[in-house]
């Protein structure tokens, strides 16, 4: 092969902050050939973005390269005068950032922004540059590009903005493309579209691409070689297949083992990595992963391992592992996995019913629930001009002790439904019944007492705990409000809970800001459990957390769910997370529940085309699976929830849609014991028309629309 397009050797960088100096990148080497994609995987704060920025010479103020070399072809970039670097930026090396909203200038039109690098580097006229802009916008698949030229960034959706950003990067046909988390801010279906645009362009234009991401699935099928970065160091580098099949570094091993997968058995707990990534202002001596590593020895803690191995597969570890963790061993260091037997994954009917269950009826019933948020105009009178149809006619049951997951893209109404279930918001139509009663219609003390049956865990671990209360006060608050027990008993219960969620007792006297994100989610979980609710709603419980922290929280939630025999509703955009935690899954699209079924029903036998598309678009950390799926599974963007499409709301993006889909809203049909979907042209054969026992009203009201 010819000389690599980009070659980085022993690169170290340093950033001086006001109180400390950090070394975000330490002794990193990598090379990318023309037409090749190199994956760079790591958690937030591991220095992967800084690596990209140092290639462009764009480190933040106070940052500079301390050592090493960066070569573009034969040209050394380190130490190159600013003037010449500028000629390379945007011309030979281009970069794509994560957040397309803040990366595009809000007050300049798309045309201006895309044509800017062309005018700069090619010295062409305004008109010619605009023509080129049009060309690249077409290339990245922006619909009706000519009309978009005079649009501003805020007028486009996130997916389209990301296409514009790619167009800016491609405008001058760069030799090297640095893509820094290009799809992290996007929904999965849009992510799949953007990734396929990138795949396509890379092949057509023969660029060298550095794909920086935290998501193993995203790089799996796309890059020939993957570098794993941890705390500023490259800890392992190998060809994709080899990295996934026979990794050597314990970090790579546990990171892969900690990701919940669609195809794996949810009964088996995830591998979890204890602790947190290190503080780069004061990194540990020796191997930086040693404090979290189950195989660490004194040598690891004293001496930093060099990157060694054969030329193709290198790793930096004194005690390398051999391939993926086969089964979860007791040596993960967490009590979770030691004590736990795999939980039965079947429907909760097999679980012994709790004592409180009255009869065989479901514990939670959502009946034809509707929630619409008014869109107002005017400052004074706030006249209602329209409404966002967040939840439209959703019917769902949850039995005692059962875990139900709700999955869907942003804007599908899953969070609104969660808020209806816990009674923070009231439905505009339909009913929320708990143990047969509409408890949120009660008033005063009765309502207060009723509320303890349903508790909630929020997404943002920073916003859900009052910053001015100590943990003791936070955990006692529910007991105080409900008037449960004496001060002493409350205190005992708080202590018990704290150890149950795996936090030390000295946490009691601390304020929320002293905890890491994962620890705060544990506190939030403990608070939700304080009142021993019969149902817990968890809204995106792990999406704000770092990859290596997620499995800790997920395992904990799963253990407590089973131990306490509590019903739960888990809301997430990540089907794998939901499948791991839930017995049954509901798929939502634009305010509608389109399919319900067990994890296997949904994953192996999806009946609704949307469900199938969703599964197809989720990146799987397995090169073989990823390479097999090419092409876009789902086209277009989510329609506005203010004016949802008539009939079936998915029809505008559905490959199977026909005329009837626009006219008649499909009723829920039954595909198995607990499997239902609402589609005119389902992918599975529905069961012959049986009277739909519990969800008959869903079908009834749907046809009434």
């Amino acid at each position: 092969m010819a000389a690599p397009a980009l070659k980085v050797e022993n690169l170290s960088t340093e950033i001086r902050l006001s109180r400390a100096t950090v070394q975000p990148v330490g002794n990193v080497s990598l090379e990318i050939g023309e037409g090749e994609t190199l994956g760079l995987v790591g958690e937030s704060g591991c220095g992967k973005s800084m690596l990209g920025l140092s290639v462009l010479g764009l480190l933040p103020t106070g940052g500079h390269v301390t050592e090493g070399s960066i070569k573009l072809g034969d040209k050394e970039l380190v130490g190159l005068p600013e003037r010449e670097l500028r000629r390379i930026r945007g011309n030979d090396i281009a970069m794509i950032f994560q957040d397309s909203l803040s990366s595009l200038n809000p007050t300049k039109s798309i045309g201006e922004q895309v044509s800017e690098p062309v005018r700069l580097h090619r010295g062409v006229s305004r008109k010619e540059a605009l023509d080129r802009a049009l060309e690249v916008l077409e290339l990245v698949g922006l619909p009706r590009p000519r009309e978009r030229l005079s649009d501003y960034p805020h007028q486009l959706s996130g997916g389209l903005r990301q296409r514009v950003m790619i167009a800016i990067a491609l405008a001058c046909e760069p030799r090297v493309l640095l893509a820094d988390e290009p799809t992290t801010a996007l929904d999965v279906t849009i992510q799949a579209q953007i990734l396929s645009v990138l795949d396509d362009l890379e092949q057509r234009l023969g660029m060298a691409t550095l794909l920086v991401t935290h998501d193993m699935g995203v790089v799996a099928g796309r890059s020939r070689r993957i570098n794993v970065m941890y705390a500023g160091r490259i800890v392992e580098t190998a060809p994709s297949e080899e990295l996934f099949s026979s990794m050597r570094h314990p970090y790579t091993q546990s990171l892969l083992g900690s990701i919940p997968r669609l195809e794996s058995d949810p009964g088996r707990p995830l591998l979890s990595i204890p602790g947190l990534p290190p503080d780069l202002t004061d990194p540990p001596q020796g191997c930086r992963f040693a404090p979290r590593c189950q195989f660490a020895t004194d040598q690891c803690r004293a001496q930093e391992p060099p990157l060694s191995g054969d030329s193709d597969h290198k790793f930096a570890c004194w005690h390398p592992v051999d391939g993926p963790a086969v089964a979860v061993s007791a040596s993960t260091g967490t009590r979770v996995s030691v004590t736990r037997e795999p939980a039965p994954a079947g429907p909760a009917a097999t679980v012994a019913g709790p004592v409180v269950q009255n009869g065989a009826g479901p514990l939670l019933e959502v009946v034809n629930a509707v929630r619409e948020y008014p869109v107002t105009a005017g400052t004074m009178l706030k006249r209602k001009v329209n409404s966002v149809k967040a939840v439209s006619d959703v019917t769902l049951q949850v039995r005692a002790g059962e875990a139900v997951g709700l999955v869907g893209e942003s804007g599908c109404g899953k969070t609104s439904l969660g808020k209806l279930i816990v009674g923070i918001e009231k439905p505009d139509g339909g009913q929320i019944r708990i143990a047969g009663e509409e408890i949120f219609r009660k008033r005063g003390g009765e309502l207060r007492r009723a509320r303890r049956t349903v508790q909630m865990m929020f997404q943002d671990p920073y916003g859900s705990l009052d910053p001015r209360m100590r943990v003791r006060a936070i955990l006692r608050e529910p007991l105080q409000i409900q008037g449960v027990g004496s001060t002493r008993e409350q205190d005992d219960r708080v202590r018990g809970l704290l150890s149950e969620v795996g936090l030390p007792l000295n946490a009691l006297e601390r304020y929320p800001h002293e905890f890491s994100g994962g620890q705060r989610q544990r506190i939030a979980l403990a608070r939700a459990l304080t009142l021993e609710p019969r149902i817990m709603v968890a809204d995106e419980p792990v999406s704000a957390l770092d990859v290596s922290i997620r499995s800790q929280v997920l395992n904990l939630m799963k253990r407590l769910q089973t131990e306490r025999n509590m019903a739960s509703v888990v809301i997430s955009h990540d089907l794998a997370v939901v499948k791991y935690l839930a017995d049954r899954i509901g798929v939502m699209y634009l305010g509608k529940l389109v399919e319900v079924g067990t994890g296997d029903d949904i994953y192996r036998r999806p009946a609704h085309p949307y469900t199938e598309a969703l599964i197809k678009t989720i990146p799987v950390p397995d090169p073989a699976v990823e390479q097999a799926k090419r092409g876009v599974a789902i086209r277009g963007e989510l329609p506005s929830p203010i004016n949802p499409p008539s009939g079936c709301r998915f029809r505008t993006r559905c490959p199977l849609a026909q005329e009837i889909c626009a006219q008649v809203e499909p009723p829920m049909r039954r595909f198995g014991q607990s499997h239902q979907a609402a589609c005119h042209f389902p992918l599975q054969t529905p069961e012959p028309e049986l009277p739909l026992a519990p969800s008959g009203d869903a079908a009834g009201s749907a046809s009434g629309h």
Partner: protein, 323 residues
């Protein structure tokens, strides 16, 4: 006259942490450690804010000097006896000397002693007027934010209207009839400066209401009253405290304006602004001791309160941002 300000160092700090996002260190994970990991003691909330404030040297010096100045104005007359009641036409406009450290003014009053008396008025009016404003403003803003809807719209439109009236002008007009004592001037100032805190508190209440921890308290069955005193008030406090500092600065400045234009306190009371009333003549006659010492005191006090306010806001921000 408050506005969002951000210091440069803080910005860089954010840049650093945003780019690197380094949570507390975690080492020595032994068998005994619960699997949630250790909790690093950072400091309690208020102590953290205090430390952040203390790290701002300038603000600490300002605060110390302010305290000294307060002591000087209120305790100084006990040690430095001067006659501030009866004019002495034999001793007018004397330059500084051993018996009159800062000379005398056109009525023969000792200037240093007069600065103390004027300073008392400044601190009293500053404290009292800002107290009035913050009480009215906080209540009004909190009610508006909590009730919401139509009432909120109405209340805020009223604030808009009052904010459109030029503050200093209307205060001057009212002062022509009603000024004289410290209490009167403070009330006049307070009644027209509560608008900005009202807006701030309302904004704060509105954002707090949608915060997850407030929603969480609701799911526990918390009553409205408990939400207000347990979550909303403590969290809205910092906005209020920071605002008081700026209000004091503004009130002292306004009092000075009134004084210069001859609508300040009535004799025998005096304020720094009253003392500067004829400054232009003094400057032309070369009586510098009647202009610069008192002017410097005024500028320093206002500056110090502004700096302390800025540092307080940064401290409170950091405390909440520290995640």
């Amino acid at each position: 006259m408050t506005e969002p300000r951000k210091t440069g160092s803080q910005e860089l700090e954010e840049l650093g942490t945003a780019a690197l996002s380094v949570p507390g260190p975690s080492r020595g994970l032994s068998e005994l450690t619960p699997d949630g990991g250790e909790v690093q003691a950072i400091a309690s909330g208020w102590r953290l804010a205090l430390r952040e404030f203390a790290s701002n040297r300038l603000a600490v010096i300002c605060l110390a000097l302010l305290l000294l100045l307060v002591l000087f104005c209120f305790l100084g007359p006990l040690f430095y006896h001067t006659d501030q009641t009866y004019t002495n036409i034999l001793n007018t406009n004397l330059p500084p000397s051993g018996s009159h450290l800062l000379g005398t003014d056109e009525n023969g009053f000792d200037e240093l002693g007069r600065i103390m008396v004027g300073g008392q008025a400044a601190f009293e009016v500053g404290g009292f007027a800002s107290g009035v404003a913050i009480v009215i403003g906080t209540l009004y803003g909190a009610i508006s934010g909590l009730v919401g809807g139509f009432v909120d719209g109405l209340l805020m439109r009223f604030v808009d209207i009052l904010l459109s009236i030029p503050f200093l002008l209307i205060v001057l007009v009212i002062a022509t009839k009603y000024s004289g004592t410290v209490v009167e001037i403070s009330l006049i100032l307070g009644v027209f400066t509560w608008l900005v805190p009202a807006r701030l508190v309302r904004g704060e209440v509105l954002t707090l209401r949608t915060r997850d921890f407030v929603l969480a308290a609701q799911t526990m069955g918390s009553s409205r009253a408990r939400l207000i005193y347990r979550h909303l008030i403590p969290n809205a406090m910092s906005v209020t405290i920071v605002n008081v500092t700026f209000l004091i600065a503004d009130s002292i400045l306004s009092l000075a304006y009134l004084g210069v234009l001859g609508e300040g306190l009535t004799p025998p009371h005096t304020s720094w602004g009253d003392m500067l009333g004829n400054a232009q003549t003094y400057v032309q006659n070369g009586y510098w001791w009647l202009v610069y010492p008192v002017g410097a005191c005024l500028v320093f006090v206002v500056l110090a309160f502004n700096l302390v306010g800025d540092a307080l806001r940064d401290a409170v921000d950091v405390r909440l941002q520290r995640r």
